[in-house]
């Protein structure tokens, strides 16, 4: 109703505008304070965002405990898939089934035996995918952080069924030291150890994400810890795989392990150390005697010393000592921690 006089018309209008401005400011501040992807934290929402990026891979195998399926996920909108390198991919063709149930024949782009990953390619466009670049920029997950593991463990999901989701927390972050049977795995870099059950047939190649569905790591193959002999639930951080992924993508030479032994390594002989012989493969590393006037004798090592650590790595046997020394250059210093009676000392040795 147009009953308001012109003289009073300005204050109510200004007041209204002021109100709206204030509300706008509050709304702006509120939405700005929440992270851009805040709407993704509900688990069912996370699931809906992640599942389209997951794929189910089928190939060779199916005999004697070696399953013929594994997991993978899209890393480019035109159909590049990251997964683990395994005998499953030893088929022609490798069949990939997307979340919507569409079946594709995939081509193997390449693999890296050091990191045990492989890239597959299917024909696609505008496919939902994880952005590797974004994953690398993300901060490391803290211990205790909640994680989700997406995979087709046990091959439970078929056709257009979504992959299975497990949850857990980051238990530890440490270097992987794993084996399968007597074969020691090549990758020995950092890994996330989680308390979600990722060590299961078919889970390898799956994605470990944070609770918001952001890609963090690749679920590894079923291995045992080399020292404790237990099956481990672990995933390799994407940041550790980027150089490998890029090398495969761009058809560049792969990084070889920089664990190459030096041309002239240091040896027990050079130092003048004679160890108590290996009676069993895990005979502790006791020094039997020292060659007269040898560097080790002169630099303070004594018979009956038990060698515990060499240059930061624990040695449990004579075999370990030899392996460890083999990685140290002749001219470098060897820092040995030994136990002598009840004392624990560090001795620096140089092969003069």
């Amino acid at each position: 109703m147009n009953t308001q006089t012109t003289s009073n018309a300005t204050s109510p209008t200004t007041a209204r505008w002021a109100c709206m401005a204030a509300i706008a400011a509050i709304v702006f501040a509120w939405t700005a304070s929440a992270p851009l992807h805040a709407q993704f934290e509900r688990f069912d929402t996370v699931d809906r965002i992640v599942q389209p990026k997951m794929v189910k891979i089928y190939g060779a195998g199916g005999l004697k405990g070696l399953e013929n399926y594994q997991s993978g996920f899209l890393v480019s909108e035109d159909g590049l898939i990251l997964t683990v390198w395994s005998i499953v991919l030893d088929a022609d063709p490798v069949v990939v089934i997307l979340n919507d149930g569409k079946r594709h024949d995939a081509k193997l782009v390449g693999y890296d035996p050091r990191t045990e990953i492989a890239l597959l390619k299917i024909d696609g466009a505008a496919l939902a995918h994880f952005d590797i670049g974004e994953s690398i920029e993300r901060e490391e997950l803290a211990i205790g952080a909640r994680v989700l593991a997406f995979s087709n463990l046990y091959g439970v999901a078929t056709g257009n069924e979504p992959t299975s989701v497990l949850h857990g927390v980051v238990s530890a972050k440490a270097d992987l030291d794993a084996r399968r049977g007597a074969f020691r795995t090549a990758y020995s870099g950092p890994a996330y150890f989680v308390d979600a059950m990722t060590n299961n047939p078919g889970a390898a190649g799956g994605a470990v994400t944070d609770h918001q569905g952001n890609l963090v790591a690749l679920i590894g193959k079923e291995y045992r810890d080399r020292l404790s002999n237990v099956w481990i639930n672990y995933a390799i951080p994407i940041s550790e795989l980027t150089s490998s992924i890029n090398a495969i993508k761009n058809n560049e030479p792969l990084e070889t392990t920089n664990q190459r032994p030096p041309a002239e390594p240091i040896t027990l002989d050079l130092l003048g150390i004679v160890m108590v012989p290996d009676v069993i493969s895990k005979t502790p590393a006791f020094v039997d005697r020292l060659i007269a006037d040898s560097p080790a004798e002169q630099q303070g090592l004594k018979p009956d010393d038990l060698i515990i650590e060499i240059n930061g790595k624990m040695v449990a046997s004579r075999k370990d000592v030899i392996e460890r020394l083999n990685m140290i250059d002749r001219i470098d210093t060897v820092e040995m921690t030994v136990r002598r009676d009840r004392e624990i000392l560090t001795i620096r040795l140089n092969a003069r």
Binding site: T13, R16, C19, M20, I23, A24, I26, V27, W30, T31, A34, P35, A38, Q39, E41, R42, A142, I143, G144, A145, R146, G168, V169, V170, S171, A172, K173, A174, F193, D195, M197, N199, H211, Q212, D225, L227, S228, N229, V230, W231, N233, I280, S281, K282, T283, P284, A285, L306, I308, E309, M314, A316, S317, T337, R339, R342, I344
Partner: protein, 640 residues
């Protein structure tokens, strides 16, 4: 118009707010959880120590040992820590602690807690350590957050697994159960609640096995255990002095074989046992332990389970409708039960207990008893079955005197005799079968659901109400011509009134341990379907069949009363069988004289005799008829 647009604007603003507000709360929840878990972990972290071991065995039994670092928990500020026995089964040659600043110190094992499978370690250092706070057992509830901590990866950081408390009193009340992932990565570390208080120490445990590695196959399975520490801490000085702690035993056996149904009525209470010393007697019913009400035998085990040898416990019993309380001091070892013997073979297929025959030179032979006498009471306790008699006699010391009341030709009298030791020696016996056997002999296949195996039960012709003995003959693995087997046994089975049950393995080459369940199920099925006398059920076999029979017997004591092995061995899993007053087991070991089998059979026979089992070692000349010898033996295993 501006009024409307403001409202619309407001509505839009509220809409946008709504889609973001709750989501914020959801994100915070995950992060809040992580922060809370982190805070709890950091609180205890200074008391969690990384332990390194060098050398030792590579395998213990079938388990591969670990050379990875393990975990221990400080319990005394001067450097004493508790860890799981599992971490040390390999008997390492050197043990170190790697402190969080990287320093290494020597560590020695001071003593062991055999009840909770823990070791007490001493760190060789002057440094002092904080002792963690412990949660009160009463405050624990199923569903509470439980955080499993270890220091198996880095020496300067903790590894974490989260879950809930699944149960608060497991493994006879010694442990709390959690679904956090428990494995060698955190054995020896603490399980803490959200406040950072220690609930218990993580160890592999199994309610079935008791060796050091039992339960370790359940790692990362969703079932994990942490032993509570209140009682251990109370006895810390004992451990510190180097003395091991043993589980405490009361030294009583109870009537009945079902600990979940039966009330704790004492049947055996040796004078030298803690219960005997405290003044308890057979017939007493335990109604309370340390003020806790006890109704079933299982509850007693829960009460005593966490206790140690040397602990004092107050026991309340009901005797002659009156309750009394005594104090007993638990011990670590009780002498094994010695089976009793009066020297009587009962008449078969007659109600009550009628003497069938009296064993030569037995206690009954020296008393004024004769075949045909009906026994009606022992020491004024009325008895109407062999079981009743056994229940009374097991409570009497060997050599002690009992009074037997009996009826002979309608006259009641009584006589005294001294309870003897059951040696299981061979005794004379004759067949007593009814003259009219109108029920036809038959062969019946026995099928158990979930098992692919086959079994066949052969029964001789028999009388209407006649109870038959049952011989479960386990053949060697592989396909079996069971009809031919019955041909060998038929005559003896007809003579003594015995059925023959033949289980068959699925594998052509060997029996597998899980087939024990199948064989046990066939015995139950046979006993339910046909009229079988439970006091004349035996299982036996030759060579590997005998070993399998021994395994079945050891796992199913309440189903079999006799074990017969011809030229075979007892597998390790069964060799540690112990006598049980409620579950008698007569053993027969047969071999050909001067054969290879003779040595083995004498060895196991003597071993079982040392364990106080009634044993008959039978060495035969060439070509014995084992079915005849075994049927005759089986006819005597209902002796008492």
């Amino acid at each position: 118009m501006t009024y409307h647009s403001t409202t619309i604007f407001l509505l839009i603003a509220l809409f946008v707010l709504n889609t973001n507000g709750p989501a914020n709360a959801q994100e915070d929840l995950s992060e809040l959880h992580r922060i809370a878990v982190n805070r709890a972990s950091e609180k205890v972290a200074p008391s969690i120590i990384q332990i390194e071991t060098i050398g030792g065995l590579e395998t213990v039994g079938d388990t591969q040992t670990s050379s990875a670092p393990t975990t221990a928990l400080i319990v005394s500020s001067d450097g004493y820590a508790l860890s799981s026995e599992f971490n040390f089964v390999k008997i390492p040659s050197a043990i170190f602690a790697r402190l969080d600043d990287g320093q290494r110190v020597n560590v020695s094992i001071v003593a062991r807690d055999k009840n909770r499978k823990l070791v007490l370690l001493k760190l060789d250092t002057d440094r002092t350590f904080p002792v963690p706070e412990f949660a009160l057992r009463d405050s624990l509830e199923v569903g509470q957050t439980a955080i499993a901590l270890g220091r198996a990866y880095q020496h300067d950081s903790i590894n974490v697994s989260t879950g809930i408390i699944s149960a608060t009193h497991r493994v006879w009340s010694k442990a709390v159960q959690t679904d956090a992932k428990i494995s060698p990565a955190n054995y020896g570390g603490p399980l803490v609640n959200i406040h950072g208080q220690v609930i218990g120490l993580l160890v592999p445990l199994s309610p079935r096995g008791n060796d050091a590695v039992a339960g370790s196959e359940w790692y990362d399975s969703g079932i994990g255990f942490a032993v509570t520490l209140k009682r251990v801490i109370e006895k810390l000085d004992v451990l510190k002095s180097g003395e091991d702690l043993q589980p405490g035993l009361l030294g009583v056996s109870f009537k009945g074989t079902n600990m979940y149904r039966g009330q704790p009525e004492i049947s055996v209470c040796p004078g030298h046992s803690p219960a005997g010393q405290a003044g308890l007697k057979p017939g007493d019913v335990i109604t309370g332990i340390d003020g806790q009400r006890i109704i079933r035998q299982a509850q007693l085990r829960h009460a005593i389970g966490p206790m140690y040898a040397g602990d004092q416990v107050s026991v309340t019993v009901l005797r002659d409708d009156r309750e009394t309380t005594v104090t007993a001091t638990l011990v670590d070892k009780i002498a094994p039960f010695q089976p009793r013997s009066l020297g009587i073979l009962p008449e078969k297929n007659k109600p009550g207990v009628i003497i069938g025959s009296i064993i030569k030179d037995s206690p009954a032979a020296k008393a004024a008893l004769a075949p045909g006498d009906r026994i009606i009471a022992i020491d004024d306790v009325p008895v109407s079955s062999v079981n009743d008699i056994v229940n009374v006699v097991v409570g009497r010391e060997i050599g002690s005197e009992i009074t037997i009341k009996f009826v002979r030709e309608n006259q009641t009298s009584s006589t005294k005799l001294n309870v003897g030791l059951q040696t299981g020696q061979s005794v004379e016996t004759s067949a007593e079968r009814p003259n009219d056997r109108t029920v036809e002999s038959l062969v019946s296949p026995i099928k158990i659901p979930e098992f692919a195996n086959e079994a066949f039960c052969y029964l001789p012709s028999r009388g209407q109400d006649e109870l038959l003995g049952l011989m479960v003959w386990v053949p060697e693995a592989g396909p079996v011509n069971h009809e031919a087997l019955w041909q060998q046994w038929q005559t003896s089975c007809e003579e003594f009134g015995i059925g023959l049950l033949v289980p068959i393995s699925t594998d052509r080459k060997r029996w597998t341990p899980d087939e024990e369940e199948f064989i046990a199920a066939t015995i139950t099925e046979c006993s339910n379907r046909f009229d079988i006398d439970p006091s004349r059920v035996a299982i036996g076999g030759k060579a590997t069949g005998g070993s399998m029979a021994a395994l079945v017997a050891s796992q199913n004591r309440e189903s079999v009363r006799g074990l017969a092995i011809i030229e075979g061995a007892i597998p390790r899993a069964a060799a540690s069988m112990a006598t049980d007053p409620n579950l008698p087991l007569f053993m027969y070991f047969g071999a050909i004289k001067n054969s290879e089998g003779e040595k083995n059979v004498k060895a196991i026979g003597e071993r079982m005799q040392k364990n106080h089992f009634p044993v008959h070692i039978d060495l035969q000349p060439e070509n014995p008829s084992w079915p005849e010898l075994l049927a005759r033996w089986l006819n005597t295993i209902d002796r008492f």
